[in-house]
Symmetry: C2
Subunit: 371 residues, 2 copies
């Protein structure tokens, strides 16, 4: 059975920097007259459009560059590394490189587990630091200590959107920090937001519909319900109007704003245990998978002809050749979009910090007048 | 049963000018915070986006105006009216008005049935006439004489795309008249092409996918399989990659290019008689209905939540209030798009005539050189 073919996804797998681009480029063959096919090899005979994360990231990076050009100072991101995982080191190096390439400062601080709390608090109070990223896991997944550390990061510097207020806003579909002015957007977690940006690029979000409802009518399966990626992703997509089947080892849950999406934010409906992944796939316009492990593959036979398939695992959850015979669009990895979103979040933090500073200054001036 | 709730659609109903705009404007309510709903009336509480044909036609008319500005002379359309149907007179008047408003000449010629053949042949040979439209029906639907008259119109002046070569090209998915140069596009029938233009505007066509495959992954039900609208429409949509359920009194047929849309043009698969409209509707992303008659209504309960619903009948095939509780997008009529497409076809004929004249002149010059 498909739904028992993967292990529960640990939050460890979900760092925004932990999805990699495939080493090889993919090509898509546009429809050609029949005589073209006679010349082509059978493997090339597919109408699946393969879209690489680098292509999708370009627009986001251009948006970031534009925002950056309007700032007086170069924003600085600080990364805290408090584990010995060589993969985490590699991702830290990658984020450093991408930050610098795109005009941001990056400072990697390798600290001991004992020092992580003090180090974060100190960075919170350092006005030269604009964003903080912590490389998880620090403590074993069975411990909840990483959740405690997530709450230590200042709201104004939490580039990953992992502190409670951001998470609460996301689940409650509250999009701004400063209602009713609505000038400061709430920060969304990088990997789920990267998937949203991928779906926008692919025009699965229909911009004819009003903002906030643009997935109305779409059925989406998300395989992975981790606290850090899968569950927030299902919530985000349902808040935008989709009917989402969230699938993990402990069953299927449907996230939806109800018929006619009349509810303001999503509700979660656990499905009967007999309703499994293999029941979700044939109903889904979009299949999004993020299961860690080399052995897990989505059963391509069950995917709807012409579905859109997106992999956000660092492992390949789709059989590449098979999925191209079925899908209309296949996105094999999203890592480069995730890091573009990280930079976009950092820029947004800087903009919010400036707006807050203006508000604080206004209040101070008002206080002096009243005093 | 739904599928026996409408009568076989006569070709008479399918003149491109025979769908009207609704008299009243519709509004769409974007998603609002919950307290907004408390103030709104229950009827207004819908997330369905209603889009009027006039809005969709604007872009097409702008495209036509741009093409027109590059021509030395004003193109002339001649309409032949050989029946006493007051509705046909009204539509002829409407086409005259729209032509003139958009910078085209229009000449309505009221002729007797006995004179229609000679009149068309004479217009074919008149170099001041660029396009010909005939208002059908002239003869009773049981007679095939109207089909004979359709073949009389010169290929270079057939603004409705009803002559055999255009119809053949459409079914065979041949998009140009002059392969391999591919500079002269084949003419498509106005109402089916208008539906395509509506679907493009609504972004159901995904422009991320290659031209010709942009409906890949979409399931569409078309209710009406008349020779003039329903069947060509199903073929066009399937040729563009959709899986189409074509529904009429004599059953359901599936039009498709097969799994992975690997076939170059669609094939038609008659469905088992037990598979009816009520089986198609829950599977369909898009429901397109063109059934004549005031009594016919699509059963809204069977429509997928968030589906796109389009009416091309001059009667309202959807219960307006009910469909807005279910659909993500509702297009209540397409008449204004159809007439914009008619003008676009006329412009294309003029462009093709100019290109052909250049080719003919080249050949003549070449002939003189060789002679």
């Amino acid at each position: 059975m498909c739904s028992t073919n993967f292990r529960k996804t640990p939050s460890a797998s979900a760092s925004p920097l932990q999805t990699r681009e495939p080493a090889t480029a993919h090509t898509s063959i546009a429809r050609q007259p029949p005589n073209f096919y006679a010349m082509a090899t059978p493997a090339a005979r597919t109408n699946c459009k393969v879209i690489l994360a680098g292509t999708i990231a370009k627009g986001l990076l251009a948006e970031v560059a534009d925002g950056l050009s309007k700032l007086a100072e170069k924003p600085k991101l600080v990364g805290f590394l408090a584990n010995e995982d060589p993969a985490a080191h590699m991702y830290a190096d990658w984020s450093a490189k991408t930050c610098r390439e795109n005009g941001f400062d990056f400072d990697l601080r390798v600290v001991s587990k004992a020092d992580i709390e003090e180090s974060i608090l100190s960075a919170n109070n350092d006005p030269t630091i604009h964003g903080i990223i912590v490389y998880y896991p620090i403590y074993p997944a069975t411990s909840r200590q990483d959740s405690y550390i997530q709450q230590l990061v200042s709201l104004s510097k939490d580039v990953e959107g992992l502190t409670h207020r951001y998470v609460f806003n996301m689940y409650q579909n509250i999009r701004f920090l400063d209602p009713p002015k609505n000038e400061q957007k709430s920060i969304l977690p990088c990997t789920p937001l990267a998937v949203v940006k991928v779906l926008e690029y692919l025009q699965i979000y229909n911009s004819i519909l009003p903002y906030g409802n643009r997935l109305f009518g779409k059925t989406i399966t998300v395989i992975n319900r981790s606290e850090v990626v899968g569950r927030p992703l299902a919530a985000l997509l349902a808040n935008d109007g989709a009917k989402v089947y969230s699938v993990d080892l402990d069953g299927v849950q449907m996230f939806t704003r109800g018929q006619g999406i009349t509810k303001y934010h999503h509700e979660v409906h656990p499905q009967d245990p007999s309703f499994k992944l293999e029941n979700c796939l044939p109903l889904s316009d979009v299949v999004i998978s993020g299961v860690p492990g080399k052995t897990y593959k989505v059963d391509t036979n069950l995917i709807r002809d012409g579905a859109v398939c997106i992999n956000f695992s660092s492992d390949k959850n789709f059989d590449s050749d098979a999925v191209k015979q079925k899908a209309s669009i296949y996105v094999p990895a999203i890592g480069k979009v995730t890091i573009a979103v990280l930079l976009r979040n950092l820029l947004r933090l800087v903009q919010n910090q400036k707006a807050s500073a203006v508000v604080a200054a206004d209040q101070e001036v008002a206080g002096q007048r009243e005093g």
